[in-house]
Subunit: 347 residues, 3 copies
Amino acid sequence: MSAFVRNQWYVAAYGTEVGRGLLARTILGEPIVFYRTTAGDVVALADRCVHRRFPLSESRLDGDRVVCGYHGFTYDPSGTCVSVPGQTRVPRTARVPSYPVAEQDSFVWVWIGDPARADNSLIPRAPWLADPAYTTVRGREPLAARYELLVDNLMDLSHETYLHGGYIGTPEVADTPITTEVDEERRVIYVSRHMADAACPPFYAKSTGIEGRITRWQDIEYHPPCLYLLHSRIAPAGVLPGADGTDPHGFHVEVVYAITPETEHSTHDFWAVARDFALGDQEVSDFLAENNRTVVLQDVEALDVLERVIQHEPDGYRELSVNIDTGGLAARRILEKMAEPDRAAAR
Amino acid sequence: MSAFVRNQWYVAAYGTEVGRGLLARTILGEPIVFYRTTAGDVVALADRCVHRRFPLSESRLDGDRVVCGYHGFTYDPSGTCVSVPGQTRVPRTARVPSYPVAEQDSFVWVWIGDPARADNSLIPRAPWLADPAYTTVRGREPLAARYELLVDNLMDLSHETYLHGGYIGTPEVADTPITTEVDEERRVIYVSRHMADAACPPFYAKSTGIEGRITRWQDIEYHPPCLYLLHSRIAPAGVLPGADGTDPHGFHVEVVYAITPETEHSTHDFWAVARDFALGDQEVSDFLAENNRTVVLQDVEALDVLERVIQHEPDGYRELSVNIDTGGLAARRILEKMAEPDRAAAR
Amino acid sequence: MSAFVRNQWYVAAYGTEVGRGLLARTILGEPIVFYRTTAGDVVALADRCVHRRFPLSESRLDGDRVVCGYHGFTYDPSGTCVSVPGQTRVPRTARVPSYPVAEQDSFVWVWIGDPARADNSLIPRAPWLADPAYTTVRGREPLAARYELLVDNLMDLSHETYLHGGYIGTPEVADTPITTEVDEERRVIYVSRHMADAACPPFYAKSTGIEGRITRWQDIEYHPPCLYLLHSRIAPAGVLPGADGTDPHGFHVEVVYAITPETEHSTHDFWAVARDFALGDQEVSDFLAENNRTVVLQDVEALDVLERVIQHEPDGYRELSVNIDTGGLAARRILEKMAEPDRAAAR
């Protein structure tokens, strides 16, 4: 499997998770502390005091500054140390690295890599999550598995039939062939499965009110390494969008996964589900939140098992890939390529 | 200590443990899934789907077939994949290894090694366990220690005096010398301790009804690596079998241990105790089941401690062997020899 | 960081911890069993039976002898094996190492290294702990961190302001410069901080009855590797000892830490606090015992965190030292030097 891909934006948190406390989160193996200044800006600093490596996240804020909880070394939002105990002079080299951050589409994004290369325009979009025309439910689950297993999992939804039967899986998912397309230049992978006449999983029957069979489209759009989008369209069987692109009788669900490696063997699994129907209906929201979380946890449980299995496999263990794996294999290839410069640097 | 001995039969389970569910068990480091077909035959397959290594034991049966719980790859009892999702063609190479199995003497035996060399006639016998002339109590305890420590433990019963005092140990066990015999050709080790006049441990006093001192014989017969038999004879002191071999006043207990390595540092400890007296007496069975389990758990606790100790010892740590270790040292020597071909192959 | 320093006395236990049971304790990675003979002498033996490495501490005493709980090998207080099961002859080489021990100042000291070099006159003193002119509270906390982190912690008390605020820390501790002196020949490090006019921490206000500001002296005396003394003097602000050295209006607290490495990554943290006021006052003792334990546990919690951090740092990670670290750096340098002969031996 591939290594970490650096010099990328990753989702570190939901914006609502970061406030006037100190939030410790490890991203690509780097321990980072997040907080907001009194002005509301997000700060991300390396979570280790320069003095004796004590985690700043075990400390406290004094205004916009972090005061180390061990000996009181104090840092401003740029990471510069502005006070040390027992003396007035602060050593010139006393500073902790700060990380470029950006808030977009309800997420706090952090740049992992060379700060000089951070460019906000490179952040991939998930606009539905902050769009009043959609209602969103969401969560974050700790996954004790390498991020590549989550990518594998999401790139092929035929597993819905087996792992998520009774929730979002029906026999048609596994039975319907997929089409896969790779935009090498923009580095986006598209996997589509259009079921013209499928059973409606209870999950959607209850939330949309559709009775009987459905037309169900699943259009995946993966922006490696960090953002996965699933454009999902549900409609009564045979009902298609109009020739003008409007789709008044379709129900649209935008499923967003932010896939953020925590360590080599664990991952932050951010999931959000935005819908354009039953807007603001709390009962539907509660139902979808609970059911989506259950589905995510079914994946988490399976991938945690798989991670433990793989860690005990000998190097070069074999897999057998079939048609459904086309998207996942394309993802692995691109991730491998994106990781290469960092691997070269590590040699 | 020696390594795993492959190309051998091992006890994988009691026959009653294997049914229409999926039983995961690791034997000599190999993850295996066991189940019964609708016809009642035991099937043993490698517990890893060929596709992405998901454990088949986390899946479900569909008739006699196992359906992988992740993506639905389906296997027949021979391990051949008969169905994959999203396509009709099944790749020719899609199969998981199947293991030779046999049911004998109440156990499910599995052959670990080259399947072509599996020969049911090589399975060592413990006929009492399935003989209506005996009543058996039994159990299986997980042991967090290498199997060699259990072999060591069982080959010298003088530890009964110290570790199992108040149960099966009395001073005479440690005080009485042993005789040891090794049948190099058949690879069987015999260790005998005949106490002509010994205290009767409460354990036997209660179950046999003997009052006063006893003649107590312990005849060990170890078939490396997997089967250990202790032929135990109890009688009122001075009462011997007749010249014709009949023994109407003796009480006979056949203690059987199946010693199955799970990993390099853990073992399946199957124990069974068959008696030819108080047949079918549930009160005696309950008493013996509870007491034998207590004794087994005393060993397990001590060996778990010893395993942790040994893992922290430097290589080549020293032991000091005395007379009581003759049987155990013979066992180590034979196990070492039996493991050799596999070690050579591993180089 | 430095390695273990051998050929030294270490505190193994409080004298009251060692009695007629078997006490297992690992010192500098060596498993040792402690007990008292019927005459009251402390015995320290290697905690591994020569036979099969079973821990003697899992055994029992028979008079002054230890009987191994597995096979009954029996040792006298010198470590000589005097009985083995199943035979009358005891192998000549059957003995476990015994450790030189001494009782002094309420502690049981054990010599780790070459027994021939053990010299009781080398044991550093903490006489207050066994002096009727003082009342002592004390404890022992398991620390999941290398001992060097505890040395670092204790050599600079400016952390009291941040880690122990509300207990023994006030702003003056961190603000007041220290003086450091190193006696290279006797290998003692002195660090002093004299605060002429400081807030009185609740901790001392309550136990001394002083109202208002105080003069507070902290005089550290570290005898590497094993004993740390903090001579603490509290008095109403401006009250100094008399010219003749008497100090009737001062309150004296002798804080003693015995720092005993357990393994490379864990430490026995013995702490004792002796006072020359409120002698025998149980209420004051209870208050000081609870508060001192809280302070010790604040350190333990922080150092446990730091140990986990450091274990994940790459080799040669950077620290930034300032004035307050002068004592700690001197301690590291001396420990490094004291560990050298053992390192050379290990090569």
